[in-house]
């Protein structure tokens, strides 16, 4: 098991390296000169001397392979460089934005797990009932909603309408920014904070919750037909115990895979959600970095996201063994 873990961990390194190198080279192929941008932007016609100094200051005058080598040399020591735009250390930006993104993602994934799995299970045990049919339609619909359209419609319904209609103040939800930034136990919003959190969290959770519900339903239906469930019923267990104790645990394997893979979807959706709600997280920072051609920020944040994604996938694979003891990872598996 441990050897398997280490081997998988080592495989992450080349994947992340090649992915980021691709982004690095792509960036230099983009039209426009980053040095001009550093010196104030192409539209402002900066002084050629300033452009030249910017080029030297950030090593942009060196040959590409040298810049490439130096970047990775520093990145290997977890020094991600400085932002072209603001001059801030990318490590600092990463630390600040990652916390905001993490808080949002925790809530989105909590919604996904709680709502998605329970809706899926209920739908499966009442198969073909009216509520099952409605759920099937609703989950298909939720998975087709454009994240940014949903975000704006929620803004309209829960911020603009209460404002226009003069509803009591506690019904107004906030739609822009992080808010007072007050949390207990890292992720529980305190005071006014929940008003800022709730709309982006729901928006971010929408698509993945629908997918989780669909997957849980399909997986449960498969398990509910299994012989061991009939055995469990036959030995007189209550239906609740049959479903939760025997059914759910066995149905969880594909759902866990989905939730793990979903991490990528959540990151993608986070770019849109955070842009719509001006939530100062990694997603909106990455979107800004692309449009501002801020290479160190783009690479540094993408590096962190890519590593996190790879680690989550590794954890998902490891969790298989816990959910299904028949699966043995590593050496035993080859026997």
């Amino acid at each position: 098991m441990f050897a398997y873990f280490v081997r998988r961990l080592l495989l992450v390194v080349p994947t992340v390296f090649f992915a980021l190198s691709f982004l690095f080279l792509l960036f230099f192929a983009l039209p426009g000169d980053p040095a001009t941008l550093l010196a104030g932007g192409a539209d402002r016609n900066p002084d050629p001397g300033v452009v030249e100094r910017a080029r030297e200051r950030y090593g942009l005058d060196e040959p590409l392979y040298q810049q490439f080598g130096e970047y990775w040399g520093r990145a290997a020591q977890w020094d991600l460089g400085e932002s072209f735009k603001s001059g801030r250390s990318v490590n600092d930006i990463l630390g600040e934005k990652a916390i905001n993104s993490l808080r949002l993602a925790i809530w989105a994934i909590l919604i996904e797990i709680v709502v998605g799995i329970s809706v899926g299970v209920l739908s499966a045990i009442r198969r073909y009932s009216l509520s099952d049919k409605l759920t099937t339609i609703a989950t298909a619909a939720a998975s087709a909603v454009p994240v940014f359209v949903l975000g704006f419609i929620l803004q309209y319904l829960f911020a603009v309408v209460p404002e226009k209609q003069g509803w009591p103040d506690w019904l107004h939800l906030r739609t822009q920014g992080l808010g007072p930034d007050t949390w207990t136990f890292f992720f529980i919003p305190t005071g006014e904070q929940w008003r800022y959190l709730i709309l982006p969290a729901v928006t971010l959770a929408c698509v993945s919750t629908a997918l989780a519900a669909r997957m849980t339903r399909g997986s449960m239906l498969e398990v509910l037909r299994a012989d061991y469930l009939r055995t469990a019923r036959a030995k007189g267990l209550s239906e609740r115990k049959v479903v939760t104790g025997h059914g759910l645990r066995n149905a969880m394997l594909p759902v866990i895979t989905l939730i793990g893979l979903d991490f990528g979807t959540v990151i993608g959706a986070a770019i849109l959600t955070e842009t719509v709600f001006s939530w100062p997280g990694l997603g909106s920072a990455i979107a800004d970095a692309v449009s501002e051609r801020d290479l160190p920020v783009l690479l540094g944040l993408s590096l962190a996201v890519t590593i996190a994604f790879a680690l989550v996938n590794l954890l998902v694979d490891l969790s298989y063994a816990w959910f299904d003891p028949r699966i043995r990872l590593g050496k035993d598996a080859e026997v």
Binding site: P14, T15, V16, F18, A19, F22, L23, L26, F27, A29, L30, P31, I137, A140, A141, S143, A144, V145, P146, V147, F148, V149, F152, I153, Q155, Y156, V160, E163, G218, G264, I267, G268, I271, L272, T275, V276, I286, A287, V290, S291, R293, L298, S302, V305, T306, F309, A310
Partner: protein, 305 residues
């Protein structure tokens, strides 16, 4: 002996061709079966109807739309829906209904062409990886791993910036980045087909690899591809809207739905109709393709339902 061998091989080849010809006749009742099962799924039929309607709207846009996509109505700024402007007007006096109608052309063009690109790339790479295995497979799978490791929108936004802002560059971006999932599905099918006896038989008959891949194995690996590709059209239309929204897609006054949503965001409080109608158009189109894809899956493989 040496004179006989090519001859007998020739006979065998003809026989096989005949068998194949028979097989091509055989799937017809199966197709009828699939259609019968598909028809029973009401949602899939509704989805199909919507897609047909959308195609008609796109083709006949100039006759359906009362105004041009960039035709301003003087003095009618951000007007709410009325008899004159069914979906209202936008900030510079363009008719939202007409723009949504013309937008169907863009969404369908991007969705269909980019999906065809992803299907071709995914099929070829997946088939090659699954058929040859070994180092070829390892290389192709490592490449997909690398691209899957980059969050999709980051990749698409970065490449879109490279290609410039137009509908065609969006097609190129989505076509070049969307094949990863399909490649894995096709590879998995080919890996399991590889072990089947009829493939071994085709090999021992000395057929060229390309013939085995495309004529013998591909038709048997197509079912999941058809389902995936149908849903992919919707996914790509969604991605196109997201790219337009983020400002790396087509530029104004192109009537792209995502762009219209983006233009409407700052006036949400005073003119929600500017956002609602193009947003709904994206949603319903994507939903229609999801419904049809689901219906196809159930119809092609009734066991799964």
């Amino acid at each position: 002996m040496s004179g006989l061998d090519p001859l007998s091989a020739g006979v065998a080849l003809e026989d096989v061709d005949e068998i194949e010809a028979d097989e091509e006749l055989a799937p017809k009742p199966l197709r009828a079966d699939v259609w019968r099962r598909f028809r029973q799924n009401k949602l899939a039929l509704v989805g199909l109807g919507f897609i047909v309607l959308l195609i008609l709207v796109a083709v006949f846009a100039p006759w359906i739309a009362p105004y041009g996509p960039a035709e301003r109505s003087p003095g009618a700024f951000r007007e709410p829906p009325s008899l004159e402007h069914w979906f209202g007007t936008d900030t510079i006096g363009l008719d939202v209904f007409s723009r949504v109608v013309y937008g169907a052309r863009i969404s369908l063009r991007v969705g269909i062409i980019a999906t065809l690109m992803t299907v071709v790339i995914g099929l070829v790479l997946g088939a090659v990886a699954g058929f040859y295995g070994g180092k070829t497979d390892g290389l192709i799978m490592r490449v997909t791993d690398v691209f899957l490791a980059i969050p999709y929108i980051v990749l698409a936004v970065a490449i879109a910036t490279l290609f410039g802002k137009s509908v065609n560059s969006v097609i190129l971006v989505l076509g070049l980045t969307g094949w990863l999932g399909l490649c894995r599905i096709v590879r998995a099918s080919f890996l399991s087909l590889n072990r089947l006896e009829y493939v071994e038989a085709a090999r021992s008959l000395g057929f060229r690899n390309s013939r085995i891949i495309f004529r013998h194995m591909l038709p048997n690996a197509l079912q999941p591809v058809i389902v995936y590709a149908t849903i992919e059209v919707g996914t790509i239309i969604l991605a196109e809207a997201a790219l337009s929204f983020l400002g790396v897609g087509p530029v104004p006054p192109t009537p792209a739905w995502g762009l219209m949503v983006s233009e409407a965001k700052s006036t949400l409080a005073v003119a929600p109709h500017m956002l609602f109608f193009p947003g709904m158009a994206i949603f319903l189109t994507v939903l229609a393709f999801v419904f049809v894809g689901d219906g196809l899956r159930d119809a092609l493989d009734p066991k799964l339902k």
